[in-house]
Amino acid sequence: MLSWLQLLGQKAIDFFQRLGRGHLLFIAILSGIPELLLRFRLVVQQVYSVGVLSLVIILVSGLFVGMVLGLQGYNTLVDFGAEESLGTVVALSLVRELGPVVTALLFAGRAGSALTAEIGLMKATEQLSAMEMMAVDPIRRVLSPRFLAGFISMPLLAAIFSAVGVLGGFLVGVSLLGVDEGAYWSQMQDKVDLHDDIYNGVIKSLVFGVVVTWISVFEGYDCIPTSEGVSRATTRTVVHSALVVLGLDFILTALMFGEV
């Protein structure tokens, strides 16, 4: 019995220690950002590997999610004779929720885990140590550019996801299922509000961008520098990112869309 308590206590202490380390690292990363504005090439390089290379999965997923929304939305709305509102349903679902959230999850899986693996491997092969010995701060040189790149890429990817999704819904709803083209767009334009929906969606994706990139970069930097350690860290990145994104999404949604 006592040993269980001990274990629990130890886990709790470890958890807080990690949390503390994570936040200290966050501050260190942020303090390295101003100087990046002078060396933007580093950031551009990372936006390529984190953003551009995620485009394919985002485009394809966005299209399919939009198409499914169109299909399912139509099936449900047609019972109420309200299939003209399909545009609204598709657009609001995407812009408010699915765009930011699904993009964040996909990003964590594709780009986040890649970041963790890369940084973890650099740690395991002593590249980070070597940089330290060459008087180069590995946090500023390696982590900050990747963090900034994630922050920049996420809202762009989420916007692309939503836009492509709306087009996907259009394809299915209008071309396949016969919803009136004019109604699709006009209903949507009527009900989707720039401030309430689009801005809030962008804010969500910015928050998710910070959180997912932070977790990815931290797990890599903090991992045990062995092959097993790196693999565990990559798994943790994806799992923790997913949990935090979904949890934050609830809080943000409640804050933003709580009282209509």
Binding site: L121, M122, T125, E126, Q127, S129, A130, M131, E132, M133, M134, A135, V136, D137, R141
Partner: protein
């Protein structure tokens, strides 16, 4: 051998990792212009010592002076200043894998100076020439053999003309030819560039060939020190076991365990 010529002075160094005492009161002197070797059985924390000198780790107790400055008390920016004058060669080279050989050697120069690219090019080519790899400058680290990677790492370590070079197990796992190359490079670079070198190793033959002074570590203490000849003739049990490669002695063959009799008669009741 305390001396005013010491570049690095370590006094009463204590370092603990977890519950293990890695260093239990060590005194060391690294002399200018000489090659000092730090040897001992695997796991005695020789690499840890290099990290302590470089300030990557902080000692539990004791002082580490590099050129008169106390490394163990230094803040971040001071550490970065002094590290620019230290070069370190890691066991597997630790080259940055996403850039080619040329860029790896140029890395410290680009990070710490504002020199024009033309000048950087000249410097890099010269450093690569010193290690014999000028022709390999466009290769990626993944295309290099282990020995070549280490040589590139060496070129990178001398890129900023440091005052001191630290080698972490440079002889381990090398074929005879690469071994010869490394040995020659360490000693010729030390003399040509007026460096002070610290070589951490457990290869007696190669180390004895080039080291001016050797420290033997075991169990967290300095168990013997002197020139290669002095150690070879030493009466110390430690020195004898290590220099002659005897399997049993002060460093025991058997990992601590119960009496054999007792173990065998346990009938699997472990």
């Amino acid at each position: 051998m305390p001396d005013s010529q010491s570049l690095v002075k370590i006094r009463d160094l204590h370092f603990v990792r977890g519950s293990r005492k890695i260093f239990d009161g060590i005194d060391l002197d690294i002399q200018r212009g000489k090659i000092t070797a730090i040897m001992g059985p695997s796991g005695t924390g020789k690499t840890t010592l290099l990290r302590l000198i470089g300030g990557q780790l902080k000692p539990a107790r004791g002082s580490i002076e590099v050129e008169g400055q106390h490394v163990e008390n230094m803040g971040r920016s001071e550490l970065f200043q002094i590290r620019k004058r230290m070069g370190m060669l890691f066991q597997n080279g630790a080259l940055l894998t996403d850039i080619n050989v040329f860029d790896n050697v140029a890395f410290p120069i680009r990070e710490h100076t504002d020199l024009p690219e033309q000048l950087i090019r000249t410097l890099v080519l010269m450093k690569l020439e010193a290690v014999g790899l000028r022709g390999a400058r466009n290769l990626m680290p993944s295309e290099l053999s282990g020995g070549m990677a280490r040589r590139v790492a060496l070129a990178r370590a001398i890129a900023l003309d440091p005052m001191m070079l630290m080698y972490d197990e440079p002889f381990t796992g090398q074929d005879p030819i690469s071994l010869g190359v490394v040995v020659r490079l360490i000693s010729s670079l030390n003399d040509a560039l007026g460096l002070s070198s610290i070589v951490v190793s457990h290869d007696i033959h190669e180390t004895a060939a080039i080291a001016d002074y050797i420290y033997l570590l075991s169990g967290g203490k300095v168990v013997a020190h002197g020139s290669a000849d002095e150690l070879a003739q030493s009466n110390s049990e430690w020195a004898k076991q290590f220099m002659n490669g005897e399997p049993d002695g002060p460093v025991p063959f058997h990992y601590p365990a119960d009496d054999l009799h007792v173990d065998l008669l346990q009938k699997g009741l472990d």
